[in-house]
């Protein structure tokens, strides 16, 4: 059959049924659009995590209270409070070879007052080595000094957001703020770090760990220890050394009964990566279901179309159309619907992904907009395949109509 004439007939049919074709296409548009959007958002989220790694550095290990298997959730996440990690543990860990810096964390939540301004925020009790561990520096004033590490000095370094909220554009250095009931002297302001999945350091304040323990929290344990290793490659070696050291310090004979967990940043992020991968796949599958639903809609509409055009099919056969001519004619219609629907869906899905990226960026997340050509090709191909698969049954029905009966159809 001549191609140009086929196109003409197709468009004549299309313009007579504009609303119907659009509604049929809608299933395809939504299906393809959501696959594109989900894959883009998923990639963006994963790139966010990747950026986390590079901002922290991949050579970080965390020591968390609570033992058990290495790949289970740490106890602290399940609500139990384990009190066996101490400041001294952190100090001892700092002496292990290949460890460049180490800091314990004793954290809590408090109300911070300055003048008539109140802000509820987290405070982190850390040591002078914290900036080295988390790649987080002061932009004005100073951080906690090494000689203040074991003191309960009431000094505080502000996160950039807190500084802005309490002081606006004014210089906070040398001023006094209240953390709950206690007066603290502001000695420094941290650089802007941006939000991360774990925390937003800009919205936190930093005080010496002993101050946090003794003055603010009334405890003598710490909630977390982090250490920076000189090279990622040494991580397994260092982790082993840390486990041996702490097992010894905590007087634990059976390695299975340790009351702490040591993880490298990589391990933690691998775990998150696995979870987000699975989530992505799951959401993608749901989007794929909507594609199938769209395909069923197309099959439905094509069946109706075939019935409506029974006489036309009879006529075409009478003047020389072969079965395969009729088959191709109707199959082409469903493929074109999915093709155009796919195009619109790609466009719409991409717009949506751009929107999400813009919002994430606005909220301070380090979001990379990734619309992979792979996702476009895949969802487009699937859309066209759906057009073929769900269009073949109606097209076949049309091709096999008996010409004489079709001509008589009312």
């Amino acid at each position: 059959m001549d191609f140009s004439q086929s196109i003409k007939f197709f468009f004549a049919n299309l313009s007579a049924n504009k609303v119907r074709f659009f509604l049929t296409m809608l299933g395809m548009i939504i299906g393809v659009g959501s696959v594109i959007a989900i894959m883009a958002i998923g990639s963006g989220a994963q790139s966010l995590i990747f950026n986390e790694i590079t901002s922290f550095g991949t050579n970080l290990i965390s020591i968390i209270p609570g033992g058990g298997e290495e790949d289970m959730m740490p106890a602290s996440m399940m609500g139990r409070v384990i009190t066996t990690l101490t400041y001294e543990d952190a100090k001892a860990v700092g002496k292990i070879p290949h460890i460049m810096a180490v800091t314990p964390y004793a954290s809590g939540n408090a109300n911070i007052f300055f003048g008539d301004k109140i802000k509820n925020a987290n405070f982190l009790g850390v040591t002078s080595q914290y900036p080295n561990v988390e790649n987080n520096k002061v932009i004005s004033g100073r951080f906690i000094l090494p000689e203040e590490d074991e003191s309960t000095a009431k000094i505080v370094v502000l996160g950039s957001e807190i500084k802005k909220k309490l002081f606006g554009e004014d210089d906070p250095l040398g001023k006094r703020i209240k953390i709950n009931q206690t007066n603290f002297l502001v000695v420094g302001v941290m650089e802007k770090k941006g939000a991360s999945l774990a925390a937003n350091r800009d919205k936190e304040v930093f005080i010496p760990v002993k101050t946090a323990q003794k003055v603010m929290l009334g405890i003598n344990y710490v909630g977390l220890i982090r250490a920076k290793i000189d090279d990622e490659e040494n991580a397994p070696l260092v982790i082993n050394e840390v486990k041996k050291l702490l097992q010894c310090r905590h007087n634990i004979k059976d390695p299975k009964k340790i009351d702490f967990t040591v993880r490298s940043m990589n391990q933690a992020l691998d775990m998150i990566g696995t979870v987000t991968d699975a989530l992505n796949l799951f959401l993608g599958a749901i989007a794929a279901i909507s594609l199938i639903v769209g395909g069923i809609g197309i099959m439905n509409i094509m069946l109706v179309s075939v019935t409506e055009r029974t006489r036309e099919i009879g006529l075409r056969k009478a003047i020389g159309a072969k079965k395969r001519n009729i088959l191709i004619q109707f199959l082409m219609e469903s493929v074109v619907i999915t093709f155009i629907g796919g195009l619109i869906g790609i466009f719409g899905g991409s717009i949506f992904a751009v929107l999400i990226a813009a919002i994430a960026g606005y909220l301070g997340y380090d979001w990379n907009l990734v619309i992979s050509p792979f996702s476009i090709i895949i969802s487009f191909t699937i859309a066209v395949i759906i057009g073929l698969v769900f269009g073949i049954y109606p097209a076949n029905k049309a091709a096999n109509l008996n010409a004489i009966e079709a001509l008589r159809y009312e």
Partner: protein, 242 residues
């Protein structure tokens, strides 16, 4: 001696609907030569439409032989039959059967697009020429719903002629038309026949059949009379001429 265009030998046709078998054609034999104008006349249910479908390769006989241009068509498969319909036969239907959403020109070109070797440019030129001949040269881009019944049937006639078929088959061509338009159509068919076109027309009206040169009378699936018309009625002026 030239072989006849059409040669039917003992054609029967049975239809099976569920458990019931109906014998529609019960042994039909005749020959039609090039250039004849034959009317197949019979009452409703006589089998005349079925006979026409078999002649036009839309259906195959249950038994018997159908020779077209000397070739045995009973062995042909679906695709070959479709090719025959495309190249050898032109159909004209009682209800015109034009595609509503397409122009007159594209309607006429439709059979050309199904040709094995489709030459659209040549077909288009031919179409325009033929449409002008039937007086529709200025209606090329109109839709069927903008035309009268008689005009639509004229478009259908041009469509039937576009591939230069050996045989023109008309199924009650004037059935949906008033007498004036009907006569116009019969005039065109007679002119085509005068030029050498073989025309086979199915009708139940004596008045229409009189325009042909030969009448095959069919009843209960059998030909009971095959009469030559010595003086046929000219649709153009109503006169009776040889």
């Amino acid at each position: 001696m030239s072989i006849p265009l059409i040669s039917l030998k003992n054609i029967t046709k049975d239809y099976k609907t569920g458990e019931v078998t109906t014998n529609v054609l019960k042994g039909i034999s005749f020959e039609i030569n090039d250039g004849e104008f034959v009317a197949v006349m019979g009452a409703s249910g006589s089998g005349k439409s079925t006979l026409m479908y078999i002649l036009g390769f839309l259906d195959t006989p249950t038994s018997g032989k159908y020779y077209f241009e000397g070739c045995d068509t009973s062995k042909l498969d679906d695709d070959r039959l479709a090719e025959f319909r495309s190249e050898k036969v032109g159909f004209i239907f009682q209800a015109y059967n034009l595609l509503q959403r397409t122009s007159v020109l594209d309607n006429v070109l439709l059979p050309a697009t199904y040709l094995h070797k489709c030459n659209l440019k040549k077909a288009k030129d031919n179409a325009i020429k033929l449409l002008k001949r039937v007086g529709l040269g200025y209606r090329l881009n109109h839709r069927p719903n903008q035309l009268s019944g008689g005009e639509q049937q004229r478009v259908a006639i041009v469509r039937a002629l576009i591939n230069n078929p050996r045989l023109v088959l008309a199924d009650e061509p004037t059935g949906n038309l008033d007498s004036h338009s009907g006569e116009e159509i019969m005039e065109i068919l007679q002119n085509l026949n005068e030029e050498g076109r073989t025309v086979v027309m199915v009708t139940h009206e004596e008045y229409t059949a009189e325009c042909a040169r030969r009448i095959l009378h069919i009843k209960d699936g059998m030909i009971f009379k095959d009469s030559i018309i010595n003086h046929r009625r000219l649709a153009a002026n109503g006169e009776f001429r040889k």
